[in-house]
Symmetry: C2
Subunit: 305 residues, 2 copies
Amino acid sequence: MRALVFGGCGFIGSHVVDALLAAGHSVTVFDKAMERYRAPLPGVEYMTGDFADKMAWAEALSGKDVVFHLISTTFPGTANLDPKADVTGNLIGTLNLIEVMNTLGIRRLVYMSSGGTVYGPAPGHPIPEDYPLNPINSYGIVKVAIEQYLAMYRISHGLQPVVIRAANPFGPRQGHTGVQGVVATFMRRLQTGQPIEIWGDGKVVRDYLHVADLAQLCLAAAESDLCGAVNAGSGQGRSLLDLIEALAHVTGQEIAPVFKPGRTIDVPYSVLDITKAQTVLGWQPATEFRDGLRSSWDWMQTAKA
Amino acid sequence: MRALVFGGCGFIGSHVVDALLAAGHSVTVFDKAMERYRAPLPGVEYMTGDFADKMAWAEALSGKDVVFHLISTTFPGTANLDPKADVTGNLIGTLNLIEVMNTLGIRRLVYMSSGGTVYGPAPGHPIPEDYPLNPINSYGIVKVAIEQYLAMYRISHGLQPVVIRAANPFGPRQGHTGVQGVVATFMRRLQTGQPIEIWGDGKVVRDYLHVADLAQLCLAAAESDLCGAVNAGSGQGRSLLDLIEALAHVTGQEIAPVFKPGRTIDVPYSVLDITKAQTVLGWQPATEFRDGLRSSWDWMQTAKA
């Protein structure tokens, strides 16, 4: 396949690029900046520019078989601060992308959605893809609107979209500024000798998926003829206390978390049902949790930033 | 109440203004143009301008107790043609409105949503408000995103939104250019001696609500402390053939519809469950169907446009 990866220098995108290259595909990357944590990869064509500027990337689409749209101009925890920017950057931006794809007759699109926000307040069991969508924050509202537009253009224009509803991804090259994910944030604090803070009692359960497994699922989805949404999770729920115990094991540090009052925005349990990815795509999360944490920790020791 | 009615010169809005005045409330109207089908009403303050231009209406909000947001910059049947315009005009426009309301501390908002599009492909029974939202066209996608943002701002900023999910409204002052509703479109064709065209076999069932009843529901909702969504329907499903039979009766014309191939976008059955409006708001659709049609027909004979 000739693939164009929007966001290919980002956390998830860089792993998708790795998976595409390993499978022998041709890769072009469009991102706002060059590789941050590694040297540019040989054989990859890089283009940088603003996703909001259609003219910066429209030409790059020409001749591609598949588009991976992994750009988000916002983060789940902060998109509420400026919903108009969220709508403009992500929803309007994606409508631009669909428009150009339609014009060029490119049909295959892999879109990175958010299993942690599109379903809204989660039930007490793993969530299947046909669970009603009921997002309660801007990040999820915009993701849902994009998913619905993709489904609309599937009917009206023959677009072939596959939507990856990712759980909480973690792994090497994840940012650690506190907005991208709790694993990297915790590790950074351990690395720099700061205490780990937990809002609530640490019993909130999440679904932590290693980013390499997520990338494999994106690749499998692109290579399949599946259209519509597919959950990408680990198949297991883990509490923050579980995470801290595993981090203590992997880092060899004793960890005494500082407990802070719970935040009302945290749902107690959010785990994805991954039966569809397993059965339809033949995919499995392959990375054992502690091995995954170790890969993140090892990377963080060598990362320059 | 001191009410500001966005879209108060429009089809639904003009009836909401009538209902507000009849109940003794103070009314300011903001719309893109002055009354089209009637003289400006005494006692009503009119302001005209572009909804996209926040500065044109922000000051009008000052001192108001309740805002009715009845503006749509698009129509259900044509919004797909330019989804970016739909998002910009309606979603961004409404986020602007919420922003200004938050700044001024105005909490009560009555928002006109769309019972015919937010639920998507309808089940074979009247749809209650808690039915999953699954819109399949741009008009519905944008309405759902707006509803979800209203719910979000209810939690984050204490906004008190009530969302009216209207069925197919009809009545005096409905446009008849073919995009606003089938009743006015059919009547206009009868009035001008053109044949009535039906896509499909005429058995698609819809929920036709007289606009005066819809306006009463908007008023009751504003005066209540209900937040969240409420369906506004007639409580009854009617096929296009039922509608044509009633039109023949009301107009005294013999009608021989021209049947055309069915459109795939038409779901066979779409009727709203109105139990919530009846029980929580004590509202009832009061206009008998044929009386409602007669009021439309009579108005159309005298309308200048």
